[in-house]
């Protein structure tokens, strides 16, 4: 196995940054959306569901392309941000957004499965004990959703670690700036001589995900114990 170059270490650091940021950023939104879909009746619910699942159905490259259209200089959001001096594309932020968008449906789905298993009588109990909706949300639904959140965020983290298609479009493939592990692997693999380097990076990626898996399992076990 070939030793890693400084650029590879950069890629590893960037990948970790992106995955962690994307996961943490998405957690509250994922929880909120799963809650809306599971417990609240409102018009346009189906639309929301479709919207969330879109990034799953489309090839990541297409997602990336749409994100580029949205966040680019002439994009609906990009032009607004441009005015206040914020540029997202070709920055690590764009990579984070790409990972977050692509992994979001996975997160939401996991949290939903967990939420749907909550006994509605527990929610009833908390309300008769004086808890308003937001209170019940934080003290009953949230803690009982932890297994789903843990599972969902581990899916999301892993997915972010492997996200390539959307990232390369909105963030570019700039070594040391936006080149994450998958992008680096792509570059190595593009040349017949880079194969072993690509493999090394692959193994790093696997190792990271194993560690994260362990952490999550431990967290899930802790959450399962009530005392």
């Amino acid at each position: 196995m070939t030793p890693l170059t400084p650029a590879d270490y950069d890629a590893i650091r960037l990948s970790l940054q992106v995955s962690i940021a994307a996961t943490l950023l998405s957690l509250p939104f994922g929880f909120a959306v799963a809650y809306l879909i599971t417990f609240v009746q409102f018009r346009g619910k189906v639309l929301l569901e479709v919207l969330i699942n879109l990034p799953l159905t489309m090839p990541p490259v297409v997602v990336g392309y749409f994100l580029l259209l949205l966040l680019g200089r002439h994009g609906w959001l990009g032009s607004l941000l441009d005015e206040v001096g914020i540029r997202l594309i070709f920055t690590l932020k764009a990579a984070v957004i790409a990972s977050a968008v692509v992994g979001f449906p996975l997160l939401v789905r996991s949290v939903r499965i967990g939420m749907e298993g909550i006994d509605p009588q527990l929610i009833n109990a908390s309300r008769t004990l004086g808890a308003r909706w937001p209170d019940t949300l934080m003290t009953v639904i949230l803690p009982l959703s932890i297994p789903g959140l843990v599972a969902g965020s581990s899916l999301m983290f892993a997915r972010s670690l492997g996200e390539f298609g959307a990232t390369i479009i909105v963030a570019g493939n700039i070594p040391g700036v936006t080149q994450t592990i998958p992008l680096a692997i792509y570059e190595y693999a593009a040349s017949p001589t880079g194969e072993s380097m690509a493999l090394s990076l692959c193994l790093v990626s696997v190792a990271i995900s194993v560690i994260v898996l362990f952490l999550h399992e431990t967290m899930a076990k802790k959450a399962a114990r009530s005392d």
Binding site: D119, Q121, L122, N124, A125, S126, R127, T128, L129, G130, A131, R132, D135, T139, V140, P143, L144, A223, R225, S226, D227
Partner: protein, 364 residues
């Protein structure tokens, strides 16, 4: 508390129709399995919306289909002891108990946590999770959680069914005292006539979703006396205990009573005496094993099933005895008759009257 409830709620073939107004702090709900008791309290708590109707509690409209009012559960401040407990699996016993307490406006927080935990025998379990508790332990946590919420109204759905008698009769007086002390009215569901008699004044009886009777628990007890295993329960306040020949002698407003129960520390207390445990004589009986013989006047008679309830007055005290009509005919018992009532010393049963009860070795 004044509760008026005129609602209808259907589940498939089952329909619960209620139309009553009830006043009083201690209301019982009585009825066979599946008669709609749990549904009724769920409607009151705001967990099930009736199909139509109106619910007014102490002048506040909780629900009205005409006026499109439906207060949310947390706005009603009605706490509930769920039949299936419904404890929060992610919280330990202490935090389950404190869930409602913490959410209760500070000015209403009155119930003392430590006393409650002690009476419910939960003090050793406070840091345990609730998933592995025994059935009775779970039930006590559910009960404690609702009481600590210091609600405006407390709904209790068979809150004592999984408890042994000792515990049950220690908890009942506590429940009563909490309700009195802090002015918390309650609705109490139970299949036990004894609990009903001890815990409630007014009783609503349901059958297959319909209210079939509203009566005082006194009336219910009289009506059911004929069918009930325990008959009518006389409640006697006794005090001034002294010992004689190793037995306890108490003062009752109807005279001196000899009891085989009691406790050297208990100089006073509330005792129960079943109507079945009183035998009437027209003449003073001789050589009788019963330790108490009261000279009484019959002040009333009522019928229940094929039995006759005889209301007796012994100086200042009153008692209800139960006899068969034939005996009344034979003994010539009627309003105004003078009779002797024989009661065994062992027929009395002491009911703890305050939250913390002591161990109770018998008198001797």
């Amino acid at each position: 508390m004044r509760l008026s409830m005129k609602t209808a709620k259907s589940f498939g073939e089952f329909t619960l129709e209620t139309d009553f107004t009830v006043e009083g702090q201690r209301v019982g709900i009585f009825g066979t399995s599946g008669s709609g008791k749990s549904t009724l309290v769920a409607i009151l708590a705001g967990l099930v919306a009736p199909d139509r109707g109106e619910i007014v509690l102490d002048g506040v409209t909780l629900f009205s289909s005409d006026n499109r009012i439906n207060l949310r559960p947390e706005q009603r401040r009605i706490a509930m002891v769920f039949q299936q407990h419904c404890l929060f699996p992610h919280l330990n016993v202490r935090n389950n108990l404190l869930y409602g307490y913490k959410r209760c406006p500070a000015e209403f927080r009155a119930v003392d946590f430590d006393i409650l935990a002690a009476v419910l025998k939960l003090d050793g379990l406070l840091d345990r999770g609730v998933t592995n508790l025994s059935g009775g332990e779970k039930q006590r946590v559910a009960l404690g959680r609702a009481i600590l919420a210091n609600p405006r109204l407390l709904l209790m759905d068979e809150p004592l069914s999984a408890l042994d008698d000792t515990l049950r009769f220690q908890i009942i007086p506590y429940l009563k005292s909490v309700s009195e002390q802090f002015g918390i009215p309650y609705l109490f569901i139970s299949h036990s006539l004894v609990e009903m008699r001890l815990m409630t004044d007014t009783v609503l009886a349901f059958e297959g979703g319909a209210l079939v009777g509203q009566t005082t628990s006194e009336e219910l007890a009289r009506k059911r006396m004929g069918q009930s295993a325990v008959g009518y329960i006389n409640l006697l306040e006794l005090d001034g205990m002294t010992e004689r020949h190793g037995m306890c002698v108490y003062c009752w407003k109807g005279g001196e009573l000899l009891l085989s129960v009691g406790n050297r520390d208990t100089v006073s207390g509330l005792f129960e005496l079943s109507s079945k445990d009183i035998i009437l004589f027209k003449k003073h009986p001789e050589a009788i094993s019963a330790r108490n013989l009261l000279h009484c006047t019959v002040i009333g008679l009522f019928e229940s099933a094929s039995k006759l309830g005889v209301e007796l007055k012994c100086s200042e005290g009153t008692l209800v005895a139960e006899i068969v009509p034939e005996a009344a005919r034979e003994l010539g018992i009627e309003q105004g008759s003078v009779v002797y009532a024989a009661v065994k010393a062992s027929a009395f049963r002491r009911l703890a009257t305050n939250g913390v009860t002591r161990a109770e070795p018998p008198c001797q």
